[in-house]
């Protein structure tokens, strides 16, 4: 179905494809503003610049990309057709399928894709300076991340909301489909472990944080019972009560910390691991209404509220960026937060916010069943991802407004920093930055934490940055409140991901094992649910424990694995979508997903290759394993280890991580080869292969565009 006559054929073009003078002026203005902001970012050397330039550069680029590139993809590549009925219209059942207002669905989809990911990666990537991270977040989302989300959403919508796994099986065959499925499951496990580790690092030895995050469980339970027995279905009212209780819990944490009860909430990292694993299991087997659903409401409200607050805060406070534009770690690859040089490791450290493979799972499934009109994939797919990218930009700003000395004292591994403020200040000096022990103690005191030294994982850094920004807007007395507010906000996201993710993992495992032994696949058979939940929790719990007890720092060791895994999933999603474009006779436009695919394959395979085969023990898992194994055999201790047990732990962890990395690469290679074969077959055939799309049905409902009397500027094209 060609959408409209093409203007260049000489036939009278439809009026809306011509830009009016007014919109031409507007978009020229936007382009100029964005270009000036980029210019300021690129040309400032040495002097401190305002974070507002970063915001302007991001928003200007997003606006242009949304208006022009996403429009191009919708019109030319996908040929979105508002005259064609969407599954929401055809299969409307009032529950799973119903045409949803695009603004509501945008909110839905955004809440589903955005979690803690875009808050963690940019903070870690700040070790290379603000410029590389910003450039990747913005160009990555425009040409890769948002494109992937939008196209997967569209292709799934044309197939009644099939999942990525099903599409892979249908389009590229059983082998590729199975490899994709196993890959997704393994990646999920690593993701949960790394996110849970962020929570552990943020809460360990912090009674305030531990108390307020622990309180979210009784609050969610209360909401669950309230919604089920007292006021069925009154979600807004319940959520407002929940958010109020949550704020009370944060205030209560401050009171607990200064009372004699504090000692009951000082938990070691190991204790927290067992609590999280237990929580994950219970949350996965309890009925949804009790814990999962209310927690989801709470986290959605907090998410939208806090992100809006942060955007306002950044603009009003207009903090200056203290971090350098590009640090020496970008060239040397010897940074303390994560090892390796800018290419490829920056691009896997920032996954969510620029390109996140996991979104392909969310974009195929629930959202495509709710779209009212085909062209709305622009707002919902592309627009939501741009918004997530903006969250990542704000996280980067929050990390870069900190004094670099403080940043490195918080994010370097404990083995480098040593136990005291004194030793940490020395270590930071060794890295080439300055902070005094007194300043470190004062910074911790300002947010009422015992110490900020070695609080890696991103969450504490973001929280300190946010408390700086908020306290300069709302007054400086509340720093500790804002710090713990931010910790709570991030922990809430992550716990929501942990229980939802465990459940998703359980469904996947039940599905896979169900092929071997039928009863375990049944979603109602209780023992089956318990066994599979325990397996999933046990799997991520193992990596979590290994990470938390890793003498070399779990974040430093596991975060690259997580980033590579997430980007490999993006490679799978982009390969499947490229294949689908080629198969449907659109090889001409295959570069739209093919170019980001080539990039992400280059990034992940270079990073993965280095992680497996590099001779440098700081980068290669096996190289590091050999160094520590040889030393352990000789009875020697190497930096990071305090006894021989530590040495053996390091050897085991490196072996497991290295093997896992190799398996990921192998699985994705299978998918890629399979896709390439199908593409070649499709090109040889010379005509489009049989489609898997649901047949065309004319739409009988009106979209918002035909109702609006006065369209938004440029909204028509």
């Amino acid at each position: 179905m060609p959408a409209s006559a093409l203007p260049e054929t000489g036939r009278p073009a439809p009026e809306k494809s011509r830009m009016s003078l007014k919109s031409l002026a507007l978009w020229t203005g936007v382009a100029l503003l964005g270009a000036v902001a980029w210019g300021v970012l690129a040309l400032s050397r040495g002097e401190e610049i305002s974070a507002v330039w970063l915001v302007v550069a991001a928003l200007g680029s997003y606006a242009i990309a949304y208006r022009f590139y996403s429009g191009f993809i919708a019109r030319r590549v996908l040929q979105a057709d508002d005259g064609r009925a969407t599954p929401a219209e055809r299969l409307e059942d009032g529950v799973d399928y119903h045409p949803t207002d695009r603004r509501v669905l945008f909110g839905h989809h955004f809440a589903a894709i955005a979690g803690a990911g875009p808050l963690v990666g940019p903070v870690l990537a700040a070790q290379m300076g603000y410029l590389p991270g910003t450039v990747w977040i913005i160009t990555g989302v425009i040409f890769a991340g948002a494109v992937q989300d939008m196209i997967v959403l569209f292709l799934s919508m044309r197939r009644d909301g099939k999942s990525l796994g099903q599409m892979a099986r249908d389009e590229i065959g059983r082998v590729g489909g199975a490899a994709a499925l196993i890959g997704v499951f393994a990646i999920m496990i690593i993701l949960l472990a790394v996110l849970a580790m962020v929570v552990v690092n943020a809460l360990a030895e912090s009674p305030w944080g531990t108390f307020s995050v622990a309180m979210t469980i009784p609050i969610a339970l209360f909401m669950g019972f309230y919604l089920r027995y007292l006021r069925p279905g009154r979600v807004v009212e319940t959520s407002v009560i929940g958010v109020a209780l949550l704020l009370l819990a944060i205030l209560g944490g401050g009171w607990i910390q200064n009372s004699s009860l504090a000692e009951y909430f000082v938990w070691s990292p190991e204790t927290l691991v067992f609590c999280l694993v237990g929580y994950g299991f219970v949350a996965s087997v309890l009925p949804v209404w009790m814990l999962l659903a209310p927690r989801d409401y709470l986290s959605t409200f907090m998410k939208v509220g806090t992100i809006a607050l942060m955007a306002v805060g950044v603009v009003i406070a207009a903090p200056t960026l203290k971090a350098g534009a590009v640090t020496e770690f970008a060239h040397t690859g010897a940074g303390p937060v994560f090892a390796g040089s800018l290419f490829p490791f920056l691009f896997i450290t920032i996954a969510c916010g620029a390109l996140s493979g996991f979104h392909a799972l969310v974009s195929s499934g629930t959202t495509p069943k709710l779209i009212q009109k085909e062209s709305q994939v622009r707002l919902i797919g592309y627009g939501s991802m741009l918004t997530e990218s903006f969250v990542a930009v704000m996280a980067l700003i929050a990390a870069c407004v900190l004094e670099p000395g403080l940043y490195y004292a918080m994010n370097s591994p404990a083995a480098l920093l040593g136990p005291t403020a004194q030793s940490a200040a020395e270590a930071v000096k060794g890295l080439g930055f300055a902070i005094t022990p007194d300043q470190l103690t004062a910074a911790a005191k300002a947010v009422e934490e015992q110490t900020l030294v070695g609080r890696s994982g991103g969450a504490p850094t973001l929280a300190v940055g946010m408390s700086e920004i908020f306290s300069s807007v709302f007054g400086s007395g509340l720093k500790a409140f804002w710090y713990h507010f931010a910790i709570m906000f991030e922990a809430l996201f992550i716990l929501t991901t942990v229980d939802a993710g465990t459940r998703v993992g359980r469904f996947m495992l039940q599905d896979m094992l169900g092929n071997v032994w039928k009863p375990i696949g049944r979603v109602t058979w209780k023992p089956g649910i318990w066994i599979t939940s325990a397996l999933v929790v046990g799997a991520w719990g193992y990596f979590l424990y290994a990470g938390v007890t890793d003498p070399l720092g779990g974040i430093k060791q596991l975060f690259p694995l997580f980033g590579i895994a997430n980007q490999l999933l993006a490679a799978v999603a982009l390969a499947v979508t490229t294949t689908m474009l080629v198969k449907s006779g659109k090889a001409r436009w295959a570069w739209v997903t093919g170019a980001p695919l080539a990039w992400v394959v280059a990034v992940t395979f270079t990073a993965g290759w280095q992680k497996v085969f590099s001779d440098n023990p700081k980068i290669g898992f096996f190289a590091q394993r050999d160094v520590y194994a040889d030393a352990a055999d000789a009875g020697k201790l190497l930096p990071g280890a305090t006894d021989l047990d530590d040495m053996h732990t390091i050897v085991v962890n490196n072996t497991v991580d290295g093997v896992l990395m190799a398996v990921f690469l192998l699985l994705v290679t299978i998918v890629l080869v399979n896709c390439a074969v199908v593409c070649v077959r499709a090109l040889r055939a010379g005509e489009p292969l049989p489609t898997t799309e649901t047949p065309y049905v004319a739409s009988r409902i009106e979209g918002p565009e035909s109702r609006d009397t006065k369209p938004l500027v440029g909204a028509g094209s």
Binding site: V235, V236, Y297, T300, F358, V362, T497
Partner: protein, 63 residues
């Protein structure tokens, strides 16, 4: 004043739609159209059914 009231109205509409609170109204509406003679479920009954359906759904949440 009317501006404030309208803004609150819009916000409430959005929150009700986003959280799925408005789902019940839509369901009843549809139920009356398709089965005019059958009684619509009460809110309590509907929410029970809804949570039961959700039990088998894979929650779409991401990092």
């Amino acid at each position: 004043m009317t501006v404030v009231r309208r803004a609150v109205g819009v916000l409430l509409w959005y929150a009700r739609e986003l959280t799925g609170e408005a789902e019940y109204d839509r369901y009843c509406d549809r139920h009356r159209r398709h089965h005019p003679h059958a009684p619509v479920p009460t809110r309590r009954e509907y929410q029970r059914m809804r949570t039961l359906w959700r039990e088998g759904e894979s929650p779409g949440r991401c990092c």
